[in-house]
């Protein structure tokens, strides 16, 4: 049984006040936009009271040259209710100098690697994450390659990787 988006919005408004979030809908993707400082409260509400028990996806977008964008980064949480099959997209915005978000790891364990990847690619720090290291790129890598100001062909890191020869190994 799918909960109508209006019902969910109404219960959110009752709980958090109507000025703490905005909603939008596009091609049946139902989104709730929240401020970073209210993020955990919303995620907790969705998990504990609205039944969204799975964090299906967590990703970020760099809106540096996006038409009409007001914030630099967007972080998107795709929550899934495994009983009813409905999804909700929680979105929050971040700007440079304050690139930290509270970690969703205490709520969903699947946030572990997903947050590490966002940190690896965008440099967004998740506070409270148990082991926030780079995951796909080498530890010594200094840039965040999925940011829009990072060139497609890289900054030459690949040519400067240390090479271990057979004699040295």
């Amino acid at each position: 049984m799918l909960m109508a988006f209006d019902t969910l919005t109404a219960s959110l408004r009752e709980r958090f006040g109507s000025d703490s979030f905005t909603t939008s809908e596009f091609r049946a993707n139902r989104r709730v936009h929240v401020k970073p400082d209210r993020l955990v409260a919303f995620l907790k509400y969705f998990k504990d009271e609205a039944g969204f028990d799975m964090l299906a996806e967590l990703t970020a977008v760099d809106y540096l040259r996006y038409p009409g964008a007001q914030n630099r980064f967007g972080v998107i949480y795709v929550l899934l209710n495994t009983a009813s099959g409905e999804r909700i997209y929680v979105k929050t915005s971040l700007n440079e100098a304050e690139l930290t978000l509270p970690s969703a790891f205490p709520l969903w364990k699947s946030a572990d690697w997903l947050e590490r990847e966002v940190y690896d690619m965008y440099g967004i720090v998740f506070e409270g994450h148990p082991d926030l290291r780079r995951i796909l790129l080498p530890e010594a890598f200094t840039s965040f390659p999925l940011r829009k100001d990072y060139p497609l062909r890289g900054k030459g890191e690949r040519h400067n990787f240390p090479v271990i020869t057979r004699a040295e190994s």
Binding site: F26, R27, N29, D53, M54, L55, A56, E57, T59, V61, D62, Y66, P67, G68, I76, V78, T82, G85, R87, Y89, W108, K109, S110, D112, W113, L114, E117, M121, R134, I135, L136, L137, P138, P145, L146, L152
Partner: protein
């Protein structure tokens, strides 16, 4: 042994004197990892106390490339993610793109894509089961499975001209329509597949060595599966009754009669059984789709400006030529809405989703992949702790980690 008890065992061992623990580096080029995965295992004798996966050996910046290549070009990259069932990735990618562009496919195209996606599922499961059995010493099952995969490659080749990376889907349609040879080959495959499937079943289902090495190994409970974001056969083997083909019907799945295969025990053997039965259900879907294949065009109407017009009309009419030109030139192409969309498909490994952000051009502003292998490999440390070192390959095999998809 239930996971809670296993964790207790592990923690006790870890907090005591560390002297007797030893570290084993597993991979990245170990044959049983199949591809470049690395595990750092902490062992107490033969028992795994701690496992730390180290990934990224195959990272090649696919998502960055997705921000540079247009919606049709990127399909060649998507092919190379889960190269065991490439066509399912293509279907999933264009599903998300078409959702963003708001294109409704023709019925024939939906049916053909469904056939392709299900064949990909069979081919993926065959490899997963074959390789898992091979790692546990059952070599014959692997050969039987690969024999069938070879036939599937032939079928892909007939449809698209390419065996391994077909790049078959296009925005709003397909590269080619299918022909009679394809139908003939597919009918022959469907006729012989149940027999080959039964052969593999007979080799493994009651094989004592296989059962003892997989039953009660790597148990994933239902709560853990949900908490860790598992999808696909891994979640279904743990009792999570979820299948996007039923829950969020896409393509033509609503038209077909098939079952969602689930199990309760959540161990490696349950995952094997779920995959095994899913193949038969997939074959059933393919059969139904093939026999009810609707006539008509395979691409959406050329007036939608989303697909290339036919070659003949490009040469003969100015409108078609203009449209062809518009789709080829990098500064024209599709006018995507300035918005973003998440589209997910049920592929052989689980939920393969794409988060596509459109900025008005024909190139995705952001093309995020939600790779099932990535989510599932994060589960591995929870599954292996407390088991023997020889169980590492059993658990890895049952999770079906594809490094190209894991690292992208």
């Amino acid at each position: 042994m239930p996971i809670e008890q296993l964790e207790k065992v592990a923690i006790d061992a870890a907090t005591e004197d560390h002297e007797y623990l030893w570290t084993l580096n597993f991979g990245p080029q170990h044959p049983a990892t199949h591809t470049t995965l690395r595990l750092i295992l902490t062992l107490d004798g033969e028992k795994v106390v701690k496992a730390v996966p180290d990934i990224g050996y195959l990272h090649s910046g696919f998502e960055k490339l997705g921000e540079d290549l247009d919606f049709n070009q990127y399909v060649t990259i998507v092919d190379r993610m889960n190269y065991i069932s490439p066509i399912a990735n293509e279907v999933a990618w264009h599903h998300a793109v078409e959702k963003l562009l708001g294109i409704e496919l023709t019925k024939r195209c939906k049916y053909i894509r469904t056939i392709m996606a299900e064949l990909a599922r069979i081919s993926d499961h065959l490899l997963c089961i074959g390789a898992a059995a091979l790692d546990l010493g059952a070599f014959t099952a692997f050969l039987y499975a690969f024999n069938q995969r070879e036939l599937l490659y032939d079928i892909y080749e007939t449809a698209s001209g390419q065996r391994f990376h077909p790049s078959y889907t296009r925005v709003g349609g397909l590269l080619f329509d299918i022909n009679d040879v394809f139908v003939e080959k597919l009918r022959a495959f469907l006729k012989n597949f149940p027999k080959a499937h039964a052969d593999v079943c007979r080799l493994l289902n009651r094989n004592r060595i296989f059962i003892e090495r997989t039953r009660d190994i790597g148990v994933l409970t239902r709560e853990q599966a949900i908490d860790l974001g598992c999808t696909g056969p891994i979640a279904r083997a743990s009792g999570v009754v979820r299948d996007l083909r039923k829950d969020e019907p896409y393509l033509a799945y609503a038209d077909f009669d098939f079952k969602v295969i689930c199990a309760r025990s959540g161990d490696c053997f349950a995952r094997y059984l779920v995959r095994m039965d899913e193949m038969l259900e997939s074959a059933k879907i393919v059969q139904q789709a093939l026999e009810n294949l609707p006539p008509g065009p395979v691409n959406v109407d050329a007036d939608s400006k989303a697909v290339f017009p036919e070659q003949k009309s490009v040469y003969r009419s100015i409108e078609s030529m203009i449209q062809h030109f518009e789709l080829v030139m990098p500064n024209r192409q599709w006018a995507s809405p300035v918005d973003e969309v998440y589209g997910a498909n049920e592929t052989a490994n689980g939920e393969l989703g794409f988060y596509v952000v459109g900025d008005g051009s024909g190139v995705a502003y952001r093309a995020r992949t939600r790779p099932p292998s990535y989510i599932h490999f994060a589960v591995f440390p929870y599954l292996i702790v407390g088991h023997q070192i020889s169980d590492v390959v059993a658990v890895l095999g049952s999770l079906n980690i594809i490094a190209a998809e894991l690292d992208r």
